[in-house]
């Protein structure tokens, strides 16, 4: 086990280096942090050259990259080009909000998907199963925009009469850039979370419940389930204690592989609902070609991808002792 984890970690390191190289290269290709000053008459050519030198972006790519890598290996992600704050600090300010949104959404999604998927499998081809199947197809065919905007239209600005007055108004809607609310009040958090979480949930429950359903169907047709039923166990016990445990396996893998990307933030949802998390942070700094911040966010996601893929495999062995990692 431990040799396996060490080997996977070493492979992970190699992948992280490749990722960082590709990302850094693409980032430098895509834009220069001083290009925003090019048309500013108040900044002279000499000043621009000096800023370039200060930021170190006058050096060739290889030099910039190795310097960056050298610092990162020692745990130093550098300072933002534009705000001069340490990258870690900038990310630490935004990460909690993304974690709250993604965490709550994921919790809701997994719970609903498990319940719905299991019920669908138990009552295969019933009207409930067919209805949810149809809804799932519609759910994951919808772009998140459509759901998010409909939510706002109906529940936030709302409309009782589509052509005239705003109605409902149950939840706050903040136009982009005006996100100011009392963050110390937990009730406010709940009020602001409901619509984005609901939007994310509608899209993701659709996909996840399909997995649960097909995994459950496969398990329910196996011999040991028949044995359990033959023993006279209650159907409830067979489903929840015998079948669900095994059906949960593929589901765990999928969740484990999806989680790291949640750290990058749900960009559309964050933008539409003015939720200042990682997604908006990233788009903001990508626009300014702020290399250290961009790389910081990307490496956070990449490290999470590597760690979670190892973690998923390890957790797998706990649930399924037949699997041996080697």
């Amino acid at each position: 086990m431990s040799t396996y984890i060490i080997r996977r970690l070493l492979q992970g390191m190699v992948i992280l280096v490749i990722i960082s190289f590709v990302c850094y290269y693409l980032t430098t290709l895509a834009g220069n942090p001083i290009s925003q000053y090019t048309n500013n008459p108040r900044i002279s050519k000499e000043d621009r050259a000096r800023i370039e030198r200060d930021l170190g972006v006058d050096q060739p790519f290889v030099v910039q990259y190795t310097r960056w890598l050298g610092r990162v290996v020692r745990g130093d992600f550098g300072f933002s080009f534009t705000t001069k704050q340490p990258v870690g600090e900038i990310i630490a300010q935004r990460l909690p909000k993304t974690l709250v949104l993604a965490g709550v959404a994921q919790l809701v999604v997994v719970t609903i998907a498990l319940i719905v998927g299991v019920l669908q499998a138990v009552k295969q081809y019933s009207w409930f199963d067919n209805l949810i199947t149809a809804l799932s197809f519609i759910g994951f065919s919808m772009p998140i925009f459509l759901i998010a905007l409909s939510m706002i239209l109906i529940f936030a600005v709302g409309a009782k009469d589509l052509s005239r007055q705003p109605g409902m108004g149950w939840f706050p809607y903040l136009p982009t850039g005006t996100a100011v609310w009392d963050e110390k009040n937990p009730l406010e958090w709940v009020r602001h979370l409901i619509l984005p979480v609901a939007s994310l949930a509608i899209i993701q429950v659709a996909g996840y419940s399909r997995y649960v359903r097909s995994a459950m169907l496969e398990v329910l047709s196996q011999d040991y389930v028949r044995t359990a039923r033959a023993k006279g166990l209650l159907e409830k016990v067979v489903v929840s204690r015998h079948a669900l445990k095994n059906a949960a396996l593929p589901f765990i893998t999928i969740i484990g592989l999806d989680i790291p990307f949640l750290l990058g933030g749900a960009i559309v949802t964050e933008q539409v609902f003015s939720w200042s998390g990682m997604g908006r942070l990233f788009v903001e700094y990508a626009g300014k070609s702020d290399y250290p911040v961009i790389m910081g966010v990307l490496m956070l996601v990449a490290v999470a991808v590597v760690i979670f893929s190892i973690l998923t495999d390890v957790v797998y062995t706990f649930f399924d002792p037949r699997i041996k990692l080697s």
Binding site: A30, S141, M142, L149, A159, Q271, F282
Partner: protein, 327 residues
């Protein structure tokens, strides 16, 4: 995603009656008996017909002509104010007719989706094929690279490639007798180059199992060279999984177009409408009272319908092409 509608079922009698049919006929039969697939195919045909007939009946000019007296007016049939002009889906922030923009934007969105998918699939086939067939260090390098790209959020790749390509391409290109924004090509390249990874992995996986088969050894023995074996014996046999991934890739391409627009790197308007940029423009008008919902609702519904039908078709194809599924 493992999505299954009802599997096609055939009675034993029918099976006996139809003993000798070719594999292609079998696939066709399974596809046409798949309820979802048929709904999807009819729906997709409906959308294509809608766009084609719309393009014939409506002049391209109508999708780009501003009308200062009709800014953000709702669908005519919902409004009680008499109006000279008919705007079935309303008008946008400069008074352009949304119905006409759905038709012409649909052309653009579908062209982008198909071309981006073709590009992405081609790259995937080449990377996966080479990796799986030649193996060794080439395989290791290519697969580590694929894995690395998969660990980068697609959003980042979209932003970076978009910024990289925009200044390097012509600003307008001719298309079906009108000039459209050159950014369409950027969007195609950006989506194509960020969506090849799953295809590459699938092709590689089926390649690994195929290359150990007897018929490949036979070709080797007959003196076929490696490229001949790769391109005429191996790759054609990976088509079934590729077709399924490709249908789902089409879905990804259509939604990505909307995402790219949302990030401000999509199809430039004016002069060119796309379903994606229609939605993202509407975000600037969200706080209006009364809400101008028709701006995002109609393009959103068209994206949803298109994606839904393609998902149905993909689901049907998966069942039809998989020889292990029951017939």
């Amino acid at each position: 995603m493992a999505i299954t509608l009802d599997s096609p079922t055939t009675t034993a009698l029918e099976r006996a009656r139809n003993k000798s049919i070719t594999p292609n006929q079998l696939v066709w039969r399974r596809f046409t008996r798949h309820r979802g697939a048929v709904i999807g195919a009819i729906g997709a045909l409906f959308i294509i017909t809608f766009i084609v007939i719309g393009s014939i009946l409506i002049k391209p000019d109508q999708a780009i002509r501003p009308d200062a007296f009709n800014i953000l007016s709702g669908p005519t049939w919902l409004s009680d104010k008499p109006s000279k002009e008919m705007h079935l889906f309303g008008t946008d922030q400069v008074g352009r007719d949304i119905f006409a923009r759905i038709v012409y934007g649909g052309q653009i969105s579908l062209v982008i989706a198909v071309l981006a998918l073709t590009l992405g699939t081609a790259v995937g086939i080449v990377v996966g094929g080479v990796s799986g067939y030649f193996g060794g260090w080439l395989d290791i390098v290519l697969m580590r690279f694929t894995e690395a790209v998969l660990s980068i959020p697609q959003l980042f790749l979209l932003i970076v490639l978009g910024k990289l390509l925009v200044p390097r391409l012509p600003s307008t290109i001719p298309f079906l007798g009108r000039n459209i924004s050159g950014s369409v090509i950027v969007v195609i390249l950006v989506i194509g180059f960020t969506s090849w990874m799953y295809g590459a992995r699938i092709v590689r996986a089926s390649m690994l199992s195929l290359r150990e088969r007897d018929y490949i050894s036979a070709s080797h023995a007959l003196g076929a060279n490696r490229f001949r074996i790769l391109f005429s014996h191996l790759i054609p046999n990976t088509f079934a999984p590729i077709i399924v991934t490709a249908t789902l890739g089409l879905v990804n391409a259509i939604t990505s177009e909307a995402y790219v627009s949302f990030l401000g790197l999509g199809v430039q308007d004016p002069p060119t409408a796309s379903w994606g940029n229609m939605i993202s423009q509407s975000l600037n008008h969200m706080q209006r009272t009364p809400p101008v919902w028709w701006m995002w609702f109609f393009p959103g519904i068209f994206i949803t319908m298109t994606v839904l039908f393609i998902n149905f078709i993909g689901d049907g194809l998966r069942d039809a092409l998989d020889p292990r599924r029951r017939v």
